[in-house]
């Protein structure tokens, strides 16, 4: 970013709540059904039907509020946001406006320089999602699918506390991690379960007054959030430096062209005419209900990170990576609990080999081909020096390919490490005898050649010789000869 400018970013994250049925109807929320087969009378806004609130969305919103240290409103109110659009069947969206269910929270993000930053959460409110329009395949028409209409959303509104696209992404990742910890959302961004609008403005550094902002709509991946915001920052700065003005408007990010452009359909000035929905009564939440929900909260990412460094003594940076996903953290804990290896080794393997293999095959941690108990078996053999680190990686690949447990693979392939000193001494003697020139050079002070000899011995032993013993015996024999 150009110097002399300060960027101000606020995010509105739309998080689909993982309920079975919709927020105001008994229709299924399952993804991927044929058009309109999950749109019931209420979702379609049929004349005479009425909304009834799903208890689960209230519980989920409370969980989120508690997780970000927000207050849960004892009384919140659903309002109607009135506008006409084909994906909005009733001509209004039921949302919370003046009295949201969650108000005033915060969370901490880790910046690139390793420091922490607090980001304020203004509010989180419940609302219903709209359907979707399909523009291809219907000639001069658009097709409307209302399966998604009425799906519960929690809209999480941040304070304008972020100062770069990277901070915005870190904040969004943190929210993503929290909602998945709470199991209130699957966070699936491809399916649109987790998306955000970004409000972006720039101002000369040191200026108090905020610049004119634009709203970037429907960003549905972390990468797009970063790219769209960076494009928008550059666009606004260039505009202002050329003496122009930023227009307050809604813009769409075009990922193919990597640019933002104004949304045509939103050009008309909207007047949403919010008013309390007369079909729904105020949602009242008692203090003991909130306490009850608090009891059900799982350990959250920040607390887990602290515990991992305290309890397991692993590096804070590794803990940070492990806690991003609750499932990965759970895997690590099971692994660390089962194996005789140190927790740090368990962490290294979870973050390293295991994550790489999952990534390579496009799998979630829950779908790992190696359960934690089996991986523990491998790390045990590493720790008791049955195999070396290098062989361990080979065994890991074999386990990943479904060839069996660590022990059976080690036995079947004869990969047991050679720790018998007489056997190693024999190989060492053979290597020394075969390389008289290098021996002479080593003895004349070229210490670095030790690596060459180790390599030769490992090669001769087909990787099975215990590297520590090899090192020790080599140094000793090279001195002697």
């Amino acid at each position: 970013m150009k110097s002399g400018w300060e960027v101000v970013i606020g995010l509105e994250i739309h998080c689909q709540l993982a309920t079975r049925s919709k927020i105001f109807s008994g229709a299924s929320t399952a993804y991927g059904a044929d058009a309109n087969v999950q749109a019931c009378l209420v979702d379609l806004g049929y004349p005479g039907v009425l909304p009834v609130l799903n208890e689960e969305v209230v519980r989920m919103a409370c969980k989120f509020g508690l997780a970000v240290n927000a207050s849960i409103s004892p009384r919140s109110v659903f309002a109607r946001k009135n506008y006409f659009y084909p994906d909005l069947p009733k001509g209004y969206q039921i949302s919370q406006y003046e009295l949201p269910i969650v108000a005033g929270g915060e969370l901490v993000i880790r910046l690139d320089d390793g420091s922490d930053k607090r980001i304020g959460i203004t509010r989180a409110h419940l609302e219903e999602d709209a359907g979707k329009s399909v523009h291809e395949g219907f000639g001069q028409f658009s097709g409307i699918d209302l399966n998604r209409a009425g799906t519960p959303l929690l809209e999480i509104v941040s304070e304008p506390d972020m100062r770069s696209a990277a901070e915005a992404v870190a904040y969004m990742r943190k929210i993503h991690s929290i909602v998945r910890y709470l199991e209130i959302s699957d966070g699936n961004m491809q399916e649109g379960s987790f998306r955000c609008d970004a409000n972006v403005s720039v101002r000369p550094a040191g200026q108090q007054k905020l610049g004119t902002r634009t709203e970037l709509k429907n960003l549905n991946s972390f990468r797009f959030v970063e790219k769209a915001i960076n494009f928008e920052i550059a666009r606004q700065i260039e505009l202002l430096e050329d003496g122009g003005k930023v227009t307050q408007e809604t813009r769409l990010y075009d990922s193919l062209r990597d640019e933002t452009r104004p949304m045509r359909s939103k050009e008309e000035a909207n007047d949403y005419r919010y008013f309390p929905d007369p079909d729904l009564l105020p949602v009242e939440i008692a203090a003991d209900y909130i306490e009850h929900v608090r009891q059900t909260l799982p350990e959250l990412p920040d607390a887990k990170k602290l515990r991992f460094t305290d309890q397991y003594g692993i590096r804070p940076d590794d803990a940070e990576i492990l806690i991003v996903s609750r499932a990965l953290a759970d895997y690590f804990e099971m692994l660390a609990g089962e194996t005789a290896a140190t927790a740090q080794i368990a962490a290294n393997w979870a973050i390293g080999e295991l994550s790489a293999a999952l990534n390579r095959d496009g799998l979630d941690i829950e779908q790992s081909r190696i359960p934690p108990a089996q991986l523990a078996g491998l790390l045990d053999r590493l720790t008791d020096q049955t195999i070396s680190g290098k062989i361990a990686k080979e065994v890991f690949e074999a386990m990943w390919a479904g060839e069996g447990s660590a022990d059976s693979i080690i036995d079947a392939k004869g990969l047991r490490q050679i720790s018998d000193s007489s056997a190693i001494e024999a190989i060492v003697a053979k290597v020394i005898a075969a390389h008289p020139e290098q021996v002479a050079e080593y003895q004349s002070g070229k210490d670095k050649l030790i690596g060459f000899f180790v390599g030769q011995v490992m090669k001769e032993s087909r990787g099975k010789a215990n590297p520590e013993q090899v090192n020790e015996i080599l140094r000793q024999k090279l001195q002697e000869s």
Binding site: Y46, P47, G48, L50, P51, L53, P89, Y92
Partner: protein, 491 residues
């Protein structure tokens, strides 16, 4: 039997029930007889939008079978017609609008379902002001309904078809809805009984919404006893309506015996100001005197904000209606404009051509009072005044059991007389609107005549005081025969 069945239509619902259970006639005979009146008198008065003769006869045959096998429901074989605002599965549900001219509901409203489950037989759907917006039945796309007492006059509205059908002895009972007086005012203008229960007492599920915080379903009958019979079945909790109240339903019929003696009746002075037709005033005063003679205690109560109820209503109701009617956009159901050139055109023409003038005016009024810059001055202010009006009623009911007065300021007026200025039409509801704003139950019963036209006495009670209203009305009807008088032309 044939000799006896030709006067079946003159029976009340309770008398029909006795006749059916005593085997004097069958549900099939009764249904056939009434359907003939629906087809003739109903057409003449333009009281019906749909007639469901085949389904009615099939249901009647079932009802007779049920009775024979000892499985008769509470209302087994009894006839009912529904205001065309209640959704009826497989049957047109038009709301008196071109917008829903061809709309066949895929489901039944709660009211329809409950009455049907009790064995009642639906004969048809009645005409009404478009989307219940009107006080004269003239805003119906299907034309005005005629008042059986004088066919040049309006029966009132919006439940005008229901009131005319009951007054003309086509059927003994009809459902209605009341948002600002739409059951009570037409009942008064046609000499019938109309009850609007407490808000939340009867489920709104399947009742096409006009103003959600004011709408309530009720019935129009010829006697308080018949109203009690039906309300006992219609009332009750419905989990599909968030505003439905989970409160036990008393046996309203059993409660009718409660004496008037000692009942504290509040009289509102403003009700008898210059706005009230003098002949109506006389009839209402005489009715109050009759109740007093039976031991009721009359006291004056003050409703200081009463005069603000009409303007309050004409902010709140249009605001809610402007939003409620947004769903009619030509896409999923209802009238769709031909060959729209773009989305805006589809919306504007479908709605512009599908809705009538009064509905459009109310949508626009509501849009205006909710719009940026006007919300606080109109909508929010109206909600506050609504609070004041409700407090007035709360204070009054701390000292009295019911408030009694006229239902409407005048008897029935000529079709076309009030269509020029919306405000003169709106002021028809001046005595009835308060109960809707405060969510209170109200009943209108015949109490005399102004010339040859019937006059209504309105009783309003505290929340869930339906039983008191019905008992008071029933006791009054034991003393008087106003409710037994019908238009001679349709005897």
């Amino acid at each position: 039997m044939a000799d006896e069945t030709h006067t079946l239509h003159s029976l009340t619902l309770a008398a029909m029930a006795r006749g059916l259970s005593g085997g004097d006639f069958t549900a099939t005979e009764l249904t056939r007889h009434l359907l003939a009146r629906v087809e003739t008198i109903g057409k003449d008065l333009n009281a019906f939008i749909s007639v469901t003769a085949d389904a009615a006869l099939a249901s009647a045959a079932k009802a007779d079978k049920a009775r024979a096998s000892g499985k008769a429901g509470k209302l087994n074989g009894l006839p009912i017609v529904h205001k065309d605002l209640f959704c009826t599965r497989g049957v047109l549900t038009t709301c008196g609008s071109r917008m829903l001219e061809n709309f066949v509901s895929p489901y039944d409203a709660a009211v329809v379902e409950r009455l049907q489950d009790a064995g009642a037989i639906m004969l048809g759907k009645t005409n009404m002001d478009e989307f219940a917006m009107g006080s004269s039945n003239e805003t119906s796309y299907f034309g005005a309904v005629k008042n059986p007492w004088d066919t040049s006059l309006s029966p009132g509205g919006s439940s005008g078809g229901s009131a005319a059908a009951v007054a003309a002895r086509i059927v003994p009972a009809a459902s209605g809805t009341d948002t600002g007086g739409s059951i009570r005012q037409p009942a008064a203008l046609t000499g019938t009984v109309g009850i609007k229960p407490t808000y939340g007492r009867v489920s709104r599920y399947g009742m096409v919404a006009f103003a959600s915080s004011l709408d309530q379903a009720g019935v129009i009958t010829r006697s308080a006893e018949d109203a009690a019979m039906l309300l006992s079945v219609m009332a009750g909790f419905d989990p599909r309506d968030s505003t439905s109240v989970n409160h036990p339903v008393p046996d309203y019929v059993a409660g009718l015996a409660a004496p008037v003696k000692g009942l504290k009746i509040g009289i509102v002075r403003q009700h008898f100001d210059a706005g009230l037709d003098p002949q109506c005033a006389t009839a209402v005063r005489e009715a109050l005197a009759a109740l007093e003679a039976q031991g009721a205690v009359l006291t004056e109560v003050d409703l200081p904000n009463l005069d603000l109820s009409v303007p309050t209503y004409y902010v709140v109701a249009p605001a809610e209606c402007s939003s409620n009617l947004s769903r009619f956009d030509g896409v999923r159901f209802g009238y769709r404009a031909e060959d729209p050139k773009d989305l805006m055109d589809l919306y504007c023409r479908s709605r512009g051509e599908g809705f009538g003038a009064e509905v459009k005016r109310r949508i626009m009024t509501g849009t205006y009072v909710l719009s940026a810059g006007y919300y606080d001055a109109y909508y929010l202010q109206a909600q506050k005044v609504r609070q004041l009006i409700s407090e007035d009623f709360r204070n009054a009911f701390a000292t009295v059991d019911v408030i009694a007065g006229p239902t409407a300021p005048t008897p029935a007026f000529a079709i076309g007389a009030k269509t020029d200025d919306p405000i003169t039409m709106y002021l028809n509801d001046i005595y009835t609107i308060g109960a809707n704003l405060a969510g209170l139950p109200g009943i209108s019963i015949p109490c005399g005549f102004a010339g040859k036209l019937p006059v209504g006495l309105q009783l309003v009670g505290a929340h869930f005081a339906e039983q008191k209203l019905l008992a008071c009305a029933h006791q009054y009807q034991q003393l008087t025969d106003w409710h037994e008088q019908g238009p001679e032309a349709f005897a």
